[in-house]
Every structure is written in C-alpha cells, then in structure tokens.
C-alpha cells in the first residue's frame, strides 16, 4: 500500500529511496501540522486569558494597521479596548517565532554535533559554548557602566563571543590532540569547566551583586523582542539550509572517517567546517536566550530512534520537531504558574531528563566512542 501510494507521486524513483521520500513527506507534513496548531496555541495561551476569537480579531486588526495601537496609558472602554493587540504583537508573536527558530537551531546543531562526534549522547553545548557564553555575559555585567539599554545590547554580543571563544579553544585542543571525537569531547569538558570556574570566581568576588547572572543561564524566551527575531532569522535559516545541503555528506561520515575519505569526502575539512557551523548556531542561540538544554540532545535522538540515521530525514525533521518541542515548552512555561514565567530550561529538563535516562538505560551500551 505504501508503494502504490507513493508511486502515484514519485515516478522513476527507486524502491528504497521511494520509501524514504514517503516517510520524509509524511513526517514533514505531520510536523508542520503540529507546528501550525502549536503556533495557534502559543498565541492563545499566556498570562492573560483570551479566546481564539480574540486572537483572530487581534490578528485581523494587526494585519490592517500593521502595528498595534498604543494606548499611552489612556484607559479605553472595553468595547474598543484593543490592548491585547499590544501583547499579541510585542510579546506572543515574537516569542512564538523565537521558540521556533531556537528550537530548530538547537536541534540541528545537536544533530550535527552528534554526527561529527559519532555519539548520539552529545548536545550542542558539548564544545563548552554554554560556559563560554556565561563567562562573556558575566564579564559584561561586571565591567559595564550601569546603563540599562547598552547592557542589553552588549550582553548578547559578549555571550556570543564568549561562546565562540570557548569553542575556539576546544577546537585548538581537538586539532592538537589528533582530531578524534574523544579529543573533542574531552576538550569541550575541560574548557567548560575552566570557564565555569572563572565565571563563578568572578561572580563570587565581585563587588556588584551579579549572582543573578547565573539565572540568566537558565534560558528564557520570555523577554524577547522583534529585534531578536530578525537577528536570529537569517542565521538560523542559513545554517539550517547549509546543513541540509550536506545531508548526504553527513551520511557518508556515518561509515567512519577512513571509509568516508575513501569514498571521496574530504573528511578533515568537512568536519572542521561543520563543527564551526554548529558552534556558531549554538552560540547564537545561547547569546539571545540563555542556555536551553535537552532540545539539541533529545530531538535528533528521538528521530534517529524512529527513522534511522539517514540525515536526509534526520535534519529536516529535527528542524521541525525541535521547533515544536520548544514551542510546547514555552507555552507550558508561561501557563503553568501564571503570571510567573518559569524558565524554559526547567521545562525542557523535565521532558529531557526522564527521556535521557531511558535512552541511557536501554541503549547506552551501544554507543562506544
């Protein structure tokens, strides 16, 4: 039945491939459908309770006027009170898009890392990016003058550079230690510990109260603005596209470095470039929203368990389902204890930890480095 269905669409494609194309189309469709539902849910649920009708009316007005109408503190009677438009436009819509972009970005970055390090139990922060970002952020909080807006612009930049810097050091260790997967992971661990210690040292001995910096690292999409969306958009889109382009090469890499080289892949260069690409993506995400764990680890792995390691399926589906997962987590984060905003990292941990433990118990034996 599968064959006849797909043969309607894919004339000329061979059997093995036809099956894959079918699976890809099927799951992409399912994923996008779920995404559509979640986007709607993300617009409807939040600290303020509204109905679906309200949301559509609001969207309609936004579409007509292009921007929400500011109240400027004037209280209007309820039948022309359009204050929800402001919340929808400035809060919920950017959050939705950010969750989609970050979820997709982290999942793809995790998938790439897992392919390069030859171990499904690594996440995008394995190269020490998270600790480096924290260090960069704390440095800025320590040294910057106390002007609120400047701080919020330089903070992501510092975090981004910190994350990239940590990756750079890990990369150097990796190159010097023979460019093996183990050397990369160990390098990342060392660098991570080093930066964490430095960060803690600075926090503890600073005269300014920046213990709160540690909480930044818990990850939050609660305060994103449209600017964040616009900045993330090109980076995530391009990097995801690049990785999709080389999906076949990732497949070849599954055979091992030597075999891949003998099949014609320039392994060393490919790995180096893709490591940088994945680190860029992870650094970018951390810089704007803090450390959100488990998405990069869990999503690619779930897809791999379900559909195998073919990156032509893994990468596109990681993108979509990563976005879905983070959207769910964001909705939960703002609804569970409303109007308090739980850090999204806690929600993803709640989902990720039991899943991770399950994976480790059931399949951990299989994964030797």
């Amino acid at each position: 039945m599968v064959k006849t269905f797909s043969s309607l669409f894919f004339v000329g494609a061979p059997n093995l491939v036809r099956r894959k194309i079918f699976l890809l189309t099927l799951f992409v469709t399912v994923g996008l459908a779920i995404l559509a539902i979640l986007i709607l849910a993300s617009l409807v649920f939040g600290a303020q309770e509204v109905t679906l009708g309200d949301v559509f009316a609001s969207l309609n007005r936004l579409w007509i006027f292009g921007r929400p109408i500011q109240n400027y503190g004037v209280t209007l009677p309820s039948y022309i009170d359009w204050s929800f438009d402001i919340i929808l436009y400035h809060s919920r819509i950017p959050r939705t898009f950010t969750a989609i972009l970050i979820g997709a970005g982290l999942a793809v970055s995790g998938a790439i890392m897992q392919a390069l390090v030859r171990n499904p139990l690594v996440d995008p922060y394995i190269s020490g990016v998270s600790s480096g970002a924290a260090f960069g952020a704390v440095l800025i909080l320590l040294t910057s003058i106390f002007s609120g807006f400047l701080e919020t612009v330089s903070l992501p930049l510092a975090a981004f550079l910190g994350g990239l810097g940590a990756f750079g050091i890990t990369f150097i260790i990796y190159r010097s230690a023979g460019e093996t997967p183990t050397s990369f992971v160990l390098g990342g661990v060392i660098v991570g510990i080093a930066f964490s210690s430095l960060t803690t040292f600075f926090i503890v001995t600073s005269t300014r109260e920046i213990h709160g910096a540690l909480f930044w690292l818990f990850g939050s999409i609660a305060y994103v603005t449209w600017d964040v969306v616009w900045i993330l958009l090109p980076v995530v889109v391009v990097i995801v596209l690049v990785s999709l382009l080389y999906a076949r090469e990732f497949n070849v890499l599954l055979l091992g470095d030597e075999q891949a080289a003998q099949l014609g892949l320039r392994v060393k260069w490919f790995k180096r470039i893709m490591l940088i690409v994945a680190a860029l993506l992870a650094s970018f995400c951390v810089a704007f929203t803090g450390i959100i764990g488990f998405v990069g680890l869990v999503v690619p792995h779930m897809i791999r368990l379900a559909l195998g390691s073919d990156h032509r399926l893994l990468l596109p589906l990681s993108t979509i389902f990563g976005a879905n997962l983070l959207l769910v987590a964001d909705i939960v984060a703002r609804v569970v204890m409303r109007p308090a905003e739980l850090p999204i990292g806690i929600i993803t941990s709640f989902i990720g930890v039991p899943f991770f433990a399950y994976l480790l118990i059931r399949r951990g034996k299989r994964y030797a480095m």
Binding site: G46, A47, Q48, R67, Q70, N71, Y72, G73, V74, T75, S83, I86, I87, H90, S91, R92, F146, G148, F149, E151, T152, V204, T205, T207, R208, E209, H211, G212, A213, F215, W216, S220, A222, Y223, V224, T225, W226, D227, W230, I231, L233, P234, V237, V238, L241, V242, L245, R334, M337, R338, P339, A340, E341, L342, P343
Partner: protein, 362 residues
Amino acid sequence: MGTTLRSRKALAAILIVIVAISVTGLSTYAVINNQKFTQQSYLLSLILFQLGQPRIVSCAPNIDEILCGLDLEEYIVGCVDHDPYGMGYLMEDYYLPRIVELILAGKISNKINWWYPSVESVVTLNPTIVLLDSGVPNQVSMYSSLVSQGIPAFLVPQGTRISQIEVSILQVGSLFKRGSLAQGLVDKMETKINTIQENVTGQPVLKVLVCVWIDFSQNQVYTCGNNTFLSEIVQKSGGLNVFYDNLLSWPVVTLAEAAAKNPDKIIILDHYAYLNPSETYSNIKNDPNLGNTLAAQNDEIYFVQGQAENLFSRPGPRVAEGVELLAKVLFPDLFGVTFSPPYPYILNTGNYKGYLDSFILE
C-alpha cells in the same frame, strides 16, 4: 559526473548566498525600522507621561515604599504579588498599610511576580511608566522588552549601600518631577541616621551576628558580608557585624564559625519563612557552639519578622528606621526601651512601631 557534483554544490552555494543576503537585508531593514518606531513611540510615551496622570507599575516592594515616600501611591496601578505561590503570607506583613488599602479597593493589581515577571502581566495594566528592580536579572531583561514596545521603563539601581539607596530615591524623584520631595525624604533619612549615630558614639561597640537564614540540620548560617546595606545598618547603629569583612555579600558559614565570633547579640531575620521563634531560640541555646556565645548566655536573641524585618531587607527609605530599631536593640538602656521575655525577643508588624520615635513614611 564530478562536474555534476561540483555544479550541484555551486548552485546550492549561490542559492544560499542569495538567501543569506536577502534575509540579512530584510532583517537589518526591519531592525532599523523597529528602532525608529521604538524611539518615536518611546519619546511620545515619555511626553504623554510627563503631561498626564502617570499609571505606575512598581516591580519591587522597596520601589513601592519609595513611591509612597514621594506621595505617588495614588498613581500605582500594579505591584508585586506578596504571595505568588500560595504559601499563606499576609498582606499586612508585606505591604505598607496604604498600599494594602489600595489593593483591597481594587486600585492596585498585585499580580506581578518579582523574580519571574511576565511582560504580559505588566503590559495588561496599561502603564505609562514601569519601575524595575535592577537586582533581578529577569527584570533587567524585561526592561529591554518594555522599551522596545514603546513603554517607558526605569531600572531602579540596586541598593548595596545606604548612599546608593538615597541616590535611587533622588533619581525616582526627578523622574516624577518631585525632586524636592525626594530631597526631603533623603534628608529625613539622614537626620534620623545621624541622630542615632550621635547617640551611640562613646558606647562600646557590640558584636552582632545577623542571620538572614539559619538551618540547624544543614549546619548553615546565611549572613551578610561586606558590600551590603544590611551590614551598613549594623555599623551605623553602633554595632559591629561579625562578618563585616567577608568579601562575599551573602556568605554562608557553619554554626561553629558563627559562634566563634562570639557575638553579643544575635539577630534572626525571618524573611517570610514564618519560622518558629521559640524553636529557633531553643535550638540556639542547645547548640554546643552557639549556646556558649555571650548572646546566647544572656538571652540576647532577637527574632525579627513581618514589617520589622522589612526594615532590614528592603533598600528603601525605611532603612533609616532599621538603623533606629537596631540601635534600640543594641542599647536599650541608652534609649530607654525594654525587651521582655518570653525569649526570644520578637519584633514584628504588631510591635515594631512602639520602638520608633518617628517614621519616615507616614
């Protein structure tokens, strides 16, 4: 066949470059556009705010108090939730009486979470100005979201010193064009503190152990160190914070370390944990280390709760009252006050006012 591979990559690379340039261009245009709109909207909001009736949202209890001191409490429309997780905290212990009145009258909505504030909960209140606490990282993040929406926001600096608290008061005052009122408030604070300091000069310096939290099962005492206004309060009231020279702002020490300082007085600040005073008292007396301190031997253990505790934990105008209260605790004979058993001596919402000669906020 090699050329097809290469040309595929070339084609894809070109596509990616096109996508990258166009998306980046689009994004840059959008960001710039956004910035322009934000600036316009923000300026407009500020103008309207200066002209009209402010609708103030205050995101920290010390900010509420500063606003009360500037006679602005009528304009507050939103403040922090005193009991966000349903633990049964009392409003009287948390807010000033005037604020409680306004909340109960429905004029102030107290639903904002101090540590995890939600942008929506602030924006729903339709504010013309939002005052944020810089000590809360999420509020610092919220600052940028609010500003980019065109809602005026102000980050009240963290009060790590009494002088900084005074600066914050002056800044908020100038924001609302009540500079003279602010100055008056600061002067009141200074007068009270100076009076106390004059009164206690010449007195022997008493060693004070301040417990922000005490956990006997974990063998931990959280106290205040170097760069805190709490330590400064102790110093200005004529006492010596036994951990004044600790580099950490909020060091955690063991019971033994605390006891080794041999404090003359032990102050326990119960910050909404609703600890049991007599239990804490007997735990201290029975502890092998703490029980041998001068403070324990003389039953000089003070348990501070509710509004009395707020004097020591809120960087606001009432820190001056905190100085006075602590001075009375340290030198009761000098000031003619008495503390009577049962032990420990309890200072709470009900009785703390009896120990103060005057109040900063009426």
